[in-house]
Structure formats: C-alpha cells, structure tokens
C-alpha cells in the first residue's frame, strides 16, 4: 500500500519547500543579481523631478512616503507595468479567475444547485485557489511514446499566445500594451496560432482520442476563422482604420452594434466556436472522445491550458467590447480628482501634507477602465450562458453552420456597411457624424 500511495508527511513537505526556497535564493544571488545589475546599466532610467532615478535615489525616496508616489507613477507608466499588470497579464488573469468563479456560480444557479460553497467561507470564493493548489500538487503524467518537447511546450505556448492576443486590446485611452497600426490584422495573425498549437499538442500525445480531438479542433477553428474575419470587415469599412484604439475612438457617439447587429451575432457565434465553448465544444466532447485534445494533459499542464483558454475568453470578450460596444466610451461617472489636493495638499487638522505626483491615474483612464470592465464582464456573462442552455452540436452541422450560414450572414453585414457608406448615412460627409 505504501508503495502506491505513501502517506502525506508534513515534515517531508516542509523539507521540500525549504529546499526549493534555498535553491531559489542561491540561483537568484548567483545568476539573477548579476543580471539585474548588468541590466541596470543598459536600461534607460526615468527622469523624475529633473533627477535621474538611479536605484540609490529610488531607495532613498522610498524611505520618504511623500516621495514614493512619483516613483510609483513612473513605474505605472512603464511598458513593464503594462505588460505584467494593468492592461496586460495581471488584469487579464484576474478577470479570467473571476470568470471561472462567476461561471461556476452562474451555471449552478441556472441548474438549481449551489456551486462551490465551502472553500473560503463566503460562497466558496477561494475555490479557484484550492483547485490551483490541487493541480500543482498533482503528478504530471506524460504518455510513454509522447513527443516530449512539443508536449511540454504546448500549454506554455497556448498561454503565451493568449497573452499575445491580450496585448493588442486597448483598455482605456492610451492604455494598451501594443498600439499597432494594423491591430485587427495582428489579432487575426495571433488567432492563427491556436489551431497549430492544438494540432501539435494533440499529435504529440501519441494517443487516439487527443488526435481526433485535435483534428476536430483544427477543422472547427479553421472553419470559423473566415466568418470571424469577414464579420469584422463592416466595422473596418465604416471606421476606415485597422487600429483598435482608433476603432474605439470612432464609436464616441454610437456603437457599431447599432448598425451591424448581424455582424455582432456572427462574431459572437464565432467567438463561441473559437473558444470551444458549449455548444461548440466538440474538440473536448467528453462523451465521444474522452476529453478531446486535453485527454493526456494532467496536473498543472491541464491547469495551464485552462488558464490559457480563460485568458482567450477574456481577450475575445474584450475584442467584442472594443469592436462593437464602444470600448471605454461611456458617460463620465468616476468622480474627478479634487483639485485642491493637488494645489494645496491634504489637510489633516493642523498639518497640511503636500503630496507630489497626484493624481496617480487620470480620471479619463479610470472611467474608461470602469466602463470597459463592465462591458467586458457583461459580454463574458453572455458567453457563459449558452453553456447551461444548449447541448453540444455535431461536427458536420458545425461546419455547415460556419461555412454556409455565418459566411452568408457576414457578407450581408458587409453589404449593410457598404449601403450605409454609399447611401451617405455614415462615412465622410454622411448624415450622422
């Protein structure tokens, strides 16, 4: 018995943890610190209050709380912050984690049950963390004849590609990781990587069910990429640009969904298909092909694929918001930052505290983020609901839907856009402008 499942020993666990911490510290001091020090020479340092922010200066300023804000502000406006935290990975991962929780609770409510309940005292809010810990502590099993490099790389590449997709989404005015002129085309280019990763991972497992699942995923994603591309052409025609930021700015007065509901429906359907969500979750159809291309993934590899797919879900929902729902546009509801604090400082009884560097973030950005988040969460909710309502579709029906109905509808959408332009309703010199 002990050979199969030895008992959990706290001492062994703690020993392994201390081992890990020890090696991390050693490796960091031996390799990491020199790299950081060398990099510090080459990185252009920001200038704050007419002083070059050297590490020494930063340390001295950190000791003075009133001076930390400029440093924080300068950090916020770096690309590193963008990539790791706000419009980039951290924000998306947070929303993705929220999505998982909302999905479980919403689905449970629709199915007249409770959902996660005990983990975290309040309605199972820490369930995700528990699941993550469980996945990390599970053994990763790799099939014997698997193609190991591809098999290991596939989950990471999946997450990475999803993150690259996220980097193209503008969240608030000026807050986008990569402001690309041909943003929409870049989105299509990034989406094109998903079928390859799926196909390769399914091939590398050397198992039948993942292989069938991967081929199904390939067919499905490939078939729905064309309606996806075509359904957005109407917006490009009307907005006259491919830059996502400019597309959002073109929707200041009205959202494109008003003129192109058909395009929105087509795009929404293709989102469901690209995300492999019910009713289009054929690549993971558990009753036909065990778990599709995820069959052989175990432990944290599966967790990473799930993380990637929820990041992808966030990215697509955000893309829908950006393209059809006007992105960050919305009435100004965020209260303006009180001007007297900037000019006079914070009055606390007799003391007046002058804080340089306020406001940390401008009002426009906060308001835009608020609206963007609200809209995106709304879209995510709408993406989640079909999971409780529809059964899974069959692959030939799916392909039929994609190639016959959705492409036809997206051409209808294009013609609507053309009519709007040539009839003089929209576009330069149009009625509504």
């Amino acid at each position: 018995m002990s050979s199969i499942a030895p008992e959990f020993r706290l001492s062994r666990f703690v020993a392994s943890l201390t081992d890990i911490i020890f090696w991390v510290v050693v490796i960091f001091t031996l390799i990491g610190l020199p790299i950081v020090l060398i990099l510090l020479f080459y990185i252009q340092l920001p200038v704050i209050n007419d002083k070059l922010l050297t590490p020494y200066l930063a340390l001295t300023w950190l000791a003075d709380p009133s001076r930390t804000l400029p440093i924080v502000k300068s950090l916020i406006h770096t690309d590193f912050f963008r990539i790791t935290t706000f419009p980039g990975f951290g924000f998306a991962a947070l929303l993705a984690a929220g999505t998982i929780f909302i999905e479980r609770k919403l689905l449970a409510k629709m199915q007249l049950r409770v959902g996660p309940l005990y983990c975290g005292k309040i309605e199972g809010i820490l369930q995700l963390m528990g699941d993550g810990l469980k996945l990390i502590s599970k053994e990763i099993i790799i099939p014997a004849k698997a193609d190991k490099p591809i098999f290991w790389a596939a989950p990471l590449l999946f997450v990475g590609t999803a993150a690259a997709f996220i980097s193209l989404i503008p969240v608030a005015p000026g807050w986008v990781v990569a402001d690309v002129d041909v943003g929409l085309l870049a989105v299509f280019a990034v989406i094109g990587f998903f079928p390859i990763i799926t196909l390769l991972s399914s091939w590398s497992a050397n198992s039948k069910f993942p292989f069938i699942g991967g081929i199904r995923a390939l067919h499905q994603m490939v078939s729905f990429e064309i309606p996806l591309i075509l359904s957005l052409l109407g917006i490009v025609i009307l907005a006259g640009t491919l830059n996502l930021t400019e597309i959002v700015e073109s929707q200041q007065h009205y959202w494109w969904i008003i003129f192109m509901p058909i395009g929105a429906i087509v795009f929404f359907t293709t989102i469901l298909a690209e995300l492999e969500r019910i009713p289009f979750d054929l690549p993971e159809a558990e009753s036909e092909i065990v778990a599709g291309w995820l069959t052989e993934f175990s432990g944290m590899m599966y967790g990473l694929v799930q993380l990637g797919s929820y990041l992808k879900l966030y990215a697509f929902a955000a893309l829908f918001t950006v393209l059809f729902l006007g992105g960050w546009n919305g009435p100004m509801v965020w209260p303006p930052f009180p001007q007297e604090i900037i000019t006079e400082g914070i009055k606390m009884g007799p003391i007046t505290l002058h804080v340089p560097g306020l406001p940390l973030l401008d009002q426009e950005m906060l308001n835009g983020t608020l609206w963007f988040t609200i809209k995106t969460v709304g879209v995510i909710l709408v993406i989640l609901i079909p999971r409780g309502v529809f059964p899974r579709i069959r692959i030939d029906l799916l392909l039929h839907t994609g190639w016959y109905k959705l492409i036809g509808l997206s051409f209808v959408n294009i013609f609507i856009a053309l009519t709007l332009v040539y009839a003089g309703v929209l576009g330069p010199g149009g009625l509504i402008q």
């Binding site: 193609d147 591809i150 690309v180 280019a189 990587f193 390859i196 196909l199 390769l200």
Partner: protein, 170 residues
Amino acid sequence: MADAVFLAISVLTIGSAIASLEVRSMIYGSISLMVTLAGVAGFFLLLDAPFVAMFQISVYVGSIAVLILFTVMLVRRELLFHKIEDPRRRYAGIGLMIVIMLGIGTIIIGSGIKSMEVDAPSVDFKEIGKDFLTYYSPALVVMGLILASAVIGALTLARREDVTNEQRTD
C-alpha cells in the same frame, strides 16, 4: 542594437530554413518552416511593412502551415522518417548552394545597391489598398481567377472517388 535584432532574426530564419530541410522528423521540419516564415515576417516588420507582415503570418503560419502539418500527419509515419539520399547528390547540392550564395552575393555586393540608404518615411499600408483597386485592378481580377482555379483544382484532385478499387502494392 538594431543590428543585433536583425542578426538574431536572420540567424533564426536561415537556421530554421536549413533545419526544415534537414531535420529527420517531418513534423519538426514543418515547425521549422513555420519559424522561417515568421522570421521573414519579422523582416517585413523591420522594413516597415506591417500589413504584409501580418498577411504573411496569418496566411503562411495561420493557414499554409496548418495545411502542411495536417497533410504531414496524414502521411504514414515511417515515410516521414524515411530518408533516401544519394550522398554525391547531396554534396553536389551543397556545392551548388555555396556557389549560388557566393556568386550572387559577390555580384550584389559589388553592385551599387550597397550605397542605397534612405531616410524617407515608410509607406502607409492604405496605399496598398489603393494600388489594388486602381492601378492593379486587372491583376486583382486575375488573382481572383487564380485563387478560384486553385481551390477548384485542389478539391478535384484531393477527393478520392477512384480509390475504392485501389490496393496497396507494397
């Protein structure tokens, strides 16, 4: 620094191009080809042609590589690793490659384009659309014809009506 980026991309491109032809496994060869094509897209970015670069990625990597991978997976496995090559032919090929590289390289280096360097702003990608629909519009129609004939031809070829009475010979 720019040279470093350029050097990195060119090493990646050419290295993976060689790998795609020489790696034993056809799947890895296809992946290397993908990397080559993506590297060429990187060159396009360096050349300030984002539209072409994105087109390259979404067409080559997004669809052609998928098709190649898929077809490679259709072919039986032992054939993918099966490699019959005449070594003499191989050396001749390498020689040919070096001759071409050196020959054309010397010609190019000797020619006048070495001095070509420009600081003019890059062309907006919207110009391409204009080109397509004004000056090159006949070409666009011919392009359509080519695509149409390609899809018709491919579909007609790849179907397997006649395969039912085929027997395996080996």
